[in-house]
């Protein structure tokens, strides 16, 4: 079976044990890089000057925009893993999208909270049904739904496959939701709302923003790899416990 041989090779390339070895070597480095990036990013964001229009609140952008970016990137990572689950049936892909969902929800929550805190001084209200905030909110609900779905199922393999389907359907839908929310927003609120972080950002804001975005991205990947490692350990523990129970059952049957 040449087909099976290829598959075996692929599984070998990224089998969980190898992944664990790689993870334990990479994680300290990644954590270190993340910490350094955050130190630089935070220094830059507080050393920089405020925007004359938005005042010092522009600093909120340095956490808000990276978190919003991560909320979307995390979903893309999950969608890629979902394809891995459904097409190659790779166990690491199952683990990957299961581990990413809580991270995505957390970063989306950061984006929502900071967006709201930015909105209060800018718009005078904690929440506006601004197109971006609304889309991010919908994304947050989708993350929570996926987490709930994963928790509701007992068989991890089946849970991974079913949530993979839902992730992909959601992924195809996100542009449509974004488009319709934008459309709905222009209909109800003519462009009086201040656009967050438009394309014309002054370069003094660009650097801190870029470094903070990079720092958040590294934080995500560090946490993702660590969470994947935890999930693999969790499954290993459950498999070994199961085996222990079965072995105990067999010996007692023989003894009886």
């Amino acid at each position: 079976m040449p087909q099976i041989a290829v598959l075996t090779k692929l599984t070998d390339l990224a089998n969980p044990t190898r992944f664990l070895g790689l993870a334990s070597r990479l994680l300290p480095w990644m954590a270190g890089i993340t910490a350094i990036l955050f130190a630089i990013g935070l220094y830059l964001s507080f050393a920089g000057e405020g925007d004359y229009q938005q005042g010092m609140t522009v600093r909120i952008m340095y956490v808000h925009v990276p978190a919003a970016w991560l909320s979307m990137m995390c979903y893309s990572v999950m969608a890629a893993s979902a394809i891995g689950t459904l097409v190659w049936r790779h166990p690491l892909a199952d683990v990957s999208h299961k581990a990413a969902a809580p991270l995505g929800a957390a970063f989306t929550l950061i984006a929502l909270a900071t967006g709201s805190l930015w909105g209060k001084p800018m718009w005078g209200t904690w929440w506006v049904w601004d197109a971006r905030l609304t889309s991010v909110f919908v994304l947050f609900l989708m993350y929570l739904g996926l987490i709930a779905l994963n928790r509701a199922m007992d068989d991890p393999g089946k849970a991974a496959r079913v949530s993979a389907v839902l992730i992909l359907v959601g992924f195809v839908n996100i542009p449509i939701i974004k488009f319709s929310v934008d459309w709905w927003n222009t209909l109800h609120q003519p462009a009086s709302v201040i656009r967050m972080g438009g394309s014309t950002i002054d370069s003094t804001f660009l650097w801190p923003l870029l470094i903070m975005a990079f720092a958040f991205t590294m934080l995500f990947f560090t946490l993702h790899i660590a969470a994947m490692r935890n999930e693999i350990w969790r499954r290993r523990v459950s498999a070994q416990r199961r085996m222990a129970a079965r072995m105990a059952g067999q010996t007692s049957e023989k003894g009886a």
Binding site: I4, P91, I232, R236, S238, A239, Q240, R242, R246
Partner: protein, 222 residues
């Protein structure tokens, strides 16, 4: 068995392994069944008989191995499950519809496989010994009658392979003999039967596969 004029058909199961949850239920099961042959799975409860049948029927994705079907009439890419009838623990009949409506639906929806024709609904009901009651809603039938009517479902559309999971559950002895006769008749028409039973079905030339259950925990992956 009239092997010389029997059509070329073969159900091949190669190195099939399947798991439920994390338990490997069976490992590397292989067999081949040709026209007129039957295989009986035996073993205690939970030994993986149903799991193997569901894997062969394509309802459970095997962990490894494959199930293939070859025959004269079938296109090369035919999935094995398309050549199979599956009678599981549940009867797959709607209690709200009449027996006739149920059977006619399956007759239309399933359709005949290449190389044979199914009976009429009335004929099938006759064959399982319940001719007069096809107008009744399925829910009004007793458990034994329901099982018989579920069996009649196999007769209304032709499928070369019958996969039967405890076909004689909830049946008395006379009904069992009716089923055995129908299964023998199917084998005589170059059918293939794959059945899991507690009781012997009384088939003379049946191969037997003893399932032991629990081949290990799928932990090499983790």
């Amino acid at each position: 068995m009239k092997h010389n004029e029997s059509p070329q058909m073969r159900l091949t199961v190669e190195a099939l392994s399947a798991r439920r949850g994390e338990d490997l239920i069976f490992k590397d099961v292989s067999f081949t069944l040709s026209a007129g042959e039957s295989l009986i799975l035996t073993g205690r409860n939970g030994s993986g008989k149903s799991t193997l049948l569901r894997a062969v029927a394509g309802l459970l994705r095997p962990e490894s191995g494959r199930v293939t079907w070859e025959s004269d009439g079938a296109e090369p890419g035919t999935r094995a499950s398309e050549a199979c009838h599956y009678l599981g623990h549940r009867n797959a009949m709607k209690a709200e519809l009449s027996v006739r409506e149920n059977l006619e639906f399956w007759q239309n929806f399933v359709g005949d496989f290449a190389g044979g024709r199914g009976m009429t609904v009335t004929g099938a009901a006759d064959a399982v010994g319940l001719s007069g009651i096809t107008h009744l809603p399925f829910g009004y039938l007793s458990a034994g009658q329901q099982r018989r009517m579920a069996f009649a479902k196999l007769l209304v559309a032709w499928r070369p392979v019958w996969i039967l999971d405890e076909p004689t559950a909830a049946l008395d002895v006379s009904a069992e003999s009716v089923f055995t006769a129908l299964i023998k008749d199917h084998l005589g028409h170059d059918g293939i039967v794959l059945a899991a039973t507690h009781q012997p079905l009384g088939l003379e030339n049946a191969q037997e596969l003893k399932m032991t259950g629990f081949a290990g925990v799928m932990e090499s992956m983790w």
